[in-house]
Point group: C2
Chain length 213, copies 2
Amino acid sequence: MRIAELSRVSGVTVPTIKYYLRDGLLPAGELTSRNQAQYDERHVRRLKLIRALVDVAGLSIAGVRDALTAIDATEEHRHKLLGKVLNRIAIPPALPDDDPGLAQGDSEVAQLVQRLGWDLERDNPAWRNAAEAIATIRSLGVDRLLDRLTGYAQAMHDVAELDLAMLAEVQDREQLIELAVLGSLLGNPLLVALRRLAEEDVSARRMRSTPRA
Amino acid sequence: MRIAELSRVSGVTVPTIKYYLRDGLLPAGELTSRNQAQYDERHVRRLKLIRALVDVAGLSIAGVRDALTAIDATEEHRHKLLGKVLNRIAIPPALPDDDPGLAQGDSEVAQLVQRLGWDLERDNPAWRNAAEAIATIRSLGVDRLLDRLTGYAQAMHDVAELDLAMLAEVQDREQLIELAVLGSLLGNPLLVALRRLAEEDVSARRMRSTPRA
DNA sequence: GGATAACGGATAGTATTGCTATCTACTCTG
DNA sequence: CAGAGTAGATAGCAATACTATCCGTTATCC
């Protein structure tokens, strides 16, 4: 398969494919001569993956590179725990380290974790993300949003049980890493969409039971 | 308060404040003369809100404008249902209408909704978001990620119950809209972070019970 | 075997986003 | 009344994600 067909099959324009090649997101095809290369199904798949991460997961090109690097981790790195791979595709901090309220958010996460008896390390990047979200909510004075923080955490624990149960079934290590990364990146928008749909259902039910509340 | 103090108090630079003023994200201060305006606490709050939506919720400036417009909906629009407000801050579609697989994703959402007996309309933008996420997962051949779709939906239904229970307690209509919008936009990153933290807990627990699985 | 279409690789250009800087005419402050 | 600050307008800029063009080379089709 040459570049024109790769473009046709994947739906990505030739200049964009060249751009991804330059950026190292897409591995080069096998050169059969100075200016001819062969591409195969792996390239098609990789292009679909890049577009999925950009369009659906909402990643930047730099974020895609991080995700692909995590997926492609060589065997010498792959002995590391799944957690390490997932921490490498974490959402970068949004607030400065000295943000007033961040320390408070951090300790609220600590309380939550302790209350639920969760077994985890403070250096998980998601800890910071959670602390930042909490700090932001408090700083805007919409504290009521956090009344049910524990319930949120329990619901996400249910999700996590499903995630890990799925991963536990996977034998192949390469596939495991990929499923974990994609489950994280593509699962988030799915969960967000399901939350919104569920809200409409709950709202409709409540409306039926108390029509003019 | 003049612009320099507004900048100092909010932590947003003067040129950026002017940019937000130009863009209509921040309402103009009250002009006391041709080139002097007074700003107040509402402007401080609005600036914090804009930064929160950009930094924490990850919205673009255009997205912030949509969110603020939804929050600021005048009384004539505010009779509309909460759902209409939330649909206006929906995530825009990422796949083209004619994407192969989108129709399949759409019908999978329909099956899920029917299976769970959810009461909702097909025109909810989140329906499309869910269909796109499902279509993308299928097109990448990582179908296993969807094995527990029903469980995901149930967990998010729990979240939705919490969301609506919180909103039901709010009397003031203006506050209701704001809490709904911020609960949606700021709640998502919080849920994503909690999911990741919960995954680590579940992973640690599983590791303890079956150390070398 | 000769026209021509496509190719890989390099370089340059472009549209958009989200600010940032400068300018001008004015006004408040010490 | 000096000079710092201001509103509003316009212009500039850095980053991102492509998109276009060019070059010499290579396949392809009659």
